[in-house]
């Protein structure tokens, strides 16, 4: 069990690194967050039941740690105009063009919960089920947030008109799981 757990933890580390960098937009903060996540997961391994979804479980730990760090340090993540080019990639392996920066800037203008879903689903490739489990909300909420996030991104990047708020977002997120909205809302602006 311990060996299997360790293996899963190691396998997920590169993806967690990318998730941490995209969440914090700060390399040093992402490193701290990764270490805290690894330690927390290792200590909590007895609570993880083999056969359940490890990805959702470990992403949830990282996210909770991120929220805690924001509250603990009252730290403001890097402002978008302070985000260095290397935020996108250190090795320059990807296309670091103007539109990529435009995407990063546009993401900063999203509501925190919309940005989060975009990172989990579009960037990280989590399934709706995994994203819902890691955020503690329903698949319907995930789909609704994703739809809004994509529409807003389209408006920001292409200069199209943003969609009208014609219907209320389905939001069945438990109160305790909404903390990123309040913790993040202040600090990302």
């Amino acid at each position: 069990m311990a060996d299997q757990f360790q293996e899963m933890l190691l396998t997920h580390m590169p993806r967690l690194q990318a998730y941490a960098v995209m969440l914090t937009r700060d390399r040093a903060a992402a490193e701290d967050l990764l270490q805290e996540t690894a330690l927390k997961a290792w200590r909590a391994q007895a609570q993880f039941a083999l056969g359940t979804n490890f990805t959702a479980w470990i992403y949830k730990i990282l996210r909770n740690e991120y929220i805690s760090s924001l509250r603990r340090n009252k730290r403001k993540p890097a402002r978008l105009d302070e985000v260095p080019e290397e935020f996108l990639s250190r090795n320059g392996a990807q296309e670091n063009d103007i539109l990529s920066r435009e995407v990063v800037h546009a993401m900063g203008k999203l509501q925190p919960e919309q940005r989060e879903v975009l990172i989990l689903i579009c960037a990280s490739g989590l399934s709706y089920e995994e994203a819902a489990e890691s955020l503690g909300c329903s698949i319907g909420t995930i789909k609704s947030r994703l739809w809004r996030a994509r529409a807003r991104m389209s408006a920001l990047v292409l200069g199209e008109e943003a969609p009208k708020e014609s219907h209320k977002e389905i939001d069945d997120t438990p109160r305790s799981s909404k903390s990123i909205e309040t913790a993040d809302h202040v600090s990302w602006t």
Partner: protein
């Protein structure tokens, strides 16, 4: 990287970005044109709009081509960071945890044999 170097690089980038607004605009235009399935003629345009379901008319933000492009872009950004080596301090921590796991497994084996 030293913060001064980063700031200098950012200042240069800002200058560069302000200088290339036209390029950005052109890039977005290209993106637009790649995503828009424009009819080849006015007649085709009429046919296209006539046959377009009302659902698509109202869902202005429903842009599958943009969604695909965005997903690919974000995925590439994510993959590029995921492909980087893990920070040395984290590697050390993981090695320590691995050793502890090995010790814990060894203890469990011993207890099992007893």
């Amino acid at each position: 990287m030293h913060i001064g170097v980063v700031n200098a690089a950012l200042a240069a980038t800002d200058d560069e970005l302000s200088g290339v607004d036209a390029h950005k605009s052109a890039s977005v235009d290209r993106l637009h044109s790649n995503m828009t399935d424009k009819p080849s003629s006015p007649k085709a345009e009429t046919r296209a709009s006539a046959s377009k379901p009302a659902r698509l008319e109202t869902a202005k933000n429903n842009n599958p081509a943009f969604d695909t492009w965005l997903e690919k872009k974000l995925h590439n950004m994510f993959d590029a960071v995921a492909a980087e080596p893990l920070p040395p301090d984290l590697v050390k921590l993981l090695e320590k945890l691995d050793q502890k796991t090995g010790v814990a497994d060894g203890d469990a084996d011993k207890k099992g044999k007893k």
